[in-house]
Amino acid sequence: MSEQIISMQGICKSYQMGGETLNVLKSVDFSVNKGEFTAILGPSGSGKSTLMNIIGCMDSFDSGTYLLNGIPIHEAKERDLVKIRNEQIGFIFQNYHLIPTYTVMQNIIMPLLMRGEDRKTAEKECQEVVEMLGLAERLQHKPSELSGGQRQRVAIARALCSKPSLLLADEPTGALDQNSGAEVLRLFTKLHEMGNTIVMITHDLNVAKWAERTVRIVDGEVFEDAG
């Protein structure tokens, strides 16, 4: 049996909306094996972003158990979650979420700096990723000086630099044109082939097709592989 990176059992999440309880996730069971490239496919309002936030340890859940790389997230405290986000998860956001005032290099090495590494060591560690993503010429640029595709590559570089056990991508091609989107997805495939575990949230079936496994989420319930 392959090693599980994500193991969720009976995850429930609800919000209070004007006196009414909105059940966003209804006893979700979801698991991802190491090295898998999984797409979570769902329409707007299906709960996929909530699921992604919970997987990324950025949001709490009401009940259920969640093990990330064997770590019981349901028991973790805020301080532990900070460490887990930094060491276990590489985030790739739809809108890149780069810090506009920092250069490309400063953005990329930020997770390593957060970990307590010094600037020089961090830059050295990121060199390989930077070259692989073709960003070597752009390191001193600001995000505003880059194209959408380049920005997303910077975001991917930032996610990879910390050598996480899970790459978590939220609509990674949502803000890109078709070519740039395809370029990013090819990169994901390459990263998958290199052994990275990727979970990608998308509403687009064509994007989901790039993943080796697709999971549908509808009204807060997860259904295994539609394909």
């Binding site: 985030f91 997770p111 957060m114 010094d118």
Partner: protein
């Protein structure tokens, strides 16, 4: 995250928002500049006081006598005409015999003669008149005794008595001043000058230094020589320059006096004789040729230990009381005057510092507001940092350091501004003594303001939930 990296991020954020930093720190700039200027003014005031009192020895005690005014109808004094004695006593009609209605001892009225021990006193505190007397006593001075009704002229004998009977004195001297008409040198018409009759030790006791010649000697006093020492301004006014004045003749009350010396410039003084404008002559010479016995001299005694001044004053009072039982002498010590002047100066400085503190609080509130806006603006950035592993401590420290840096920048600029502004303020005849202490204090105030007022926004930033921060627009 390493502290050096947080500092690096802070520097990055500040350098990319220079104008915002400047605007944010305006309150602190004003506050810091105010602190430095206020302290400089305070120090300047203190230096002024020190300068104005520099002709006074800290242990100096001046003793003088003022006769009470007694023309016609008067309260609280004896002498000629009708008078009411001081509080607590029965009315006294001087020159006539008056018996108190009840309970009082009959005391012969005082009539302007030199008092003997107990003379001029009327006691009798019972009954209606007692209260009446107390009321008037409270209103018009006196202490249940008839004071200063006689003409008393302090003499060198009194000075010798004090030197002999008061322990703890290092030196004593006596002096007086009088206004006299002067001519000589370049003066075409007579002019009125202050002439001071002094002994030879006056210059040392008053810290006077000479530019030319020498001060008056004991021999000058004994021989009643017609010599004088001119103050710096007087010498310039009369002869054009101190050099020309030396060894020249100046006419005081139509008698020629040889200028034996000229004093160095002393500057404005708050107490004692203003030496620059004065002409100093031997004590006995003045009495013989100018004033006769019609003078009110001041005896100056120097306490050997400034901490014993109060004891010395009590002893001086006791010795004088044995010679002049009914007289109340005016006794003032230089230390108290200096202390009072310094105290009022310190009060003013404290008040100004309080005002500067208010400016700081306002500046601090400004910083807090801007930081709140900054946190709002950078909510997404905070969310990103938290998503990629930024801890609460890192975020708190980053924003707090930003606040501290902004206020320190404000502090440094404020200190610079104060140094630029001080020459302008000095043109308004306000003396300023800029100091490192003032600058350091201003920087400390700035830092504290930044830390205190920056903490809350920084804490709010650190508490942001990453998913909510990322979702913010």
């Amino acid at each position: 995250m390493r502290f050096s990296e947080i500092l690096h991020l802070v520097r990055l954020n500040l350098t990319q928002n220079k104008f915002k930093v400047l605007l944010t720190s305006i309150g602190i700039i004003v506050g810091a500049a105010t602190i430095v200027i206020v302290i400089a003014i305070g120090r300047g005031g203190k230096a002024d006081v020190a300068e104005q009192f520099r002709n006074l020895n800290a242990g100096a005690i001046d003793i003088s006598y003022e006769q009470a005014q007694s023309s016609g109808f008067s309260f609280g004094g004896g002498g000629e005409g009708m008078s009411f004695p001081g509080g607590g006593n029965m009315p006294d009609f001087s020159g006539g015999n008056f018996t108190p209605p009840s309970g009082g001892d009959f005391i012969p009225p005082s009539g302007g003669e030199r008092p003997e021990r107990g003379s001029g006193e009327i006691s009798g505190r019972s009954g209606f008149f007692s209260g009446f007397g107390e009321m008037f006593g409270g209103m018009f001075g006196g202490d249940g005794e008839t004071k200063n009704t006689q003409k008393i002229t302090l003499t060198t004998d009194d000075m010798d008595d004090l030197a002999t009977y008061v322990p703890g004195l290092s030196e004593t001297t006596i002096s007086y001043t009088t206004k006299q008409d002067i001519y000589g040198g370049n003066i075409e018409e007579t002019e009125s000058y202050t002439v001071a009759g002094t002994l030879s030790d006056y210059a040392d006791l008053s810290n006077l230094s000479l530019l030319f010649g020498e001060y008056l000697t004991d021999a000058d006093n004994e021989n009643k020589s017609k010599v004088c020492v001119l103050g710096y301004s007087a010498a310039k006014a009369i002869f054009g320059s101190p050099e020309d004045a030396y060894d020249s003749l100046v006419y005081i009350d139509d008698r020629p006096y040889t200028v034996a010396g000229v004093l160095a410039e002393q500057g404005t003084v708050e107490a004692g004789i203003s030496a620059d404008e004065a002409i100093f002559i031997p004590y006995a010479t003045g009495i013989k040729y100018l004033t006769g016995s019609d003078i009110s001299p001041t005896i100056t005694v120097i306490a050997a230990d400034v901490n014993d001044i109060q004891t010395v004053i009590e002893n001086v009072k006791a010795v004088l009381a044995s010679s002049y039982p009914d007289a109340e002498f005016t006794i003032s010590d230089a230390g108290s005057k200096m202390e009072a002047a310094n105290k009022s100066n310190e009060t003013l400085t404290l008040m100004l510092i309080a005002m500067a503190s208010i400016v700081f609080v306002i500046g601090g509130i400004g910083i807090m507001n801007v930081l709140f806006v900054s946190v709002k603006e950078r909510t997404k950035e905070i969310g990103i940092l938290k998503a990629i592993g930024g801890s609460r401590k890192d975020i708190l420290l980053e924003f707090l350091l930003e606040a501290c840096c902004i206020s320190m920048i404000g502090g440094v600029l404020g200190v610079l501004v104060s140094f630029l502004v001080s020459p302008v303020i000095s043109t308004f005849s306000i003396r300023m003594e800029m100091s490192v202490t003032g600058a350091v204090l201003a920087l400390c105030f700035s830092l504290v303001t930044g830390t205190v007022f920056g903490f809350y926004p920084a804490w709010k930033a650190s508490k942001l939930v990453p998913v909510e921060a990322l979702a913010s627009e």
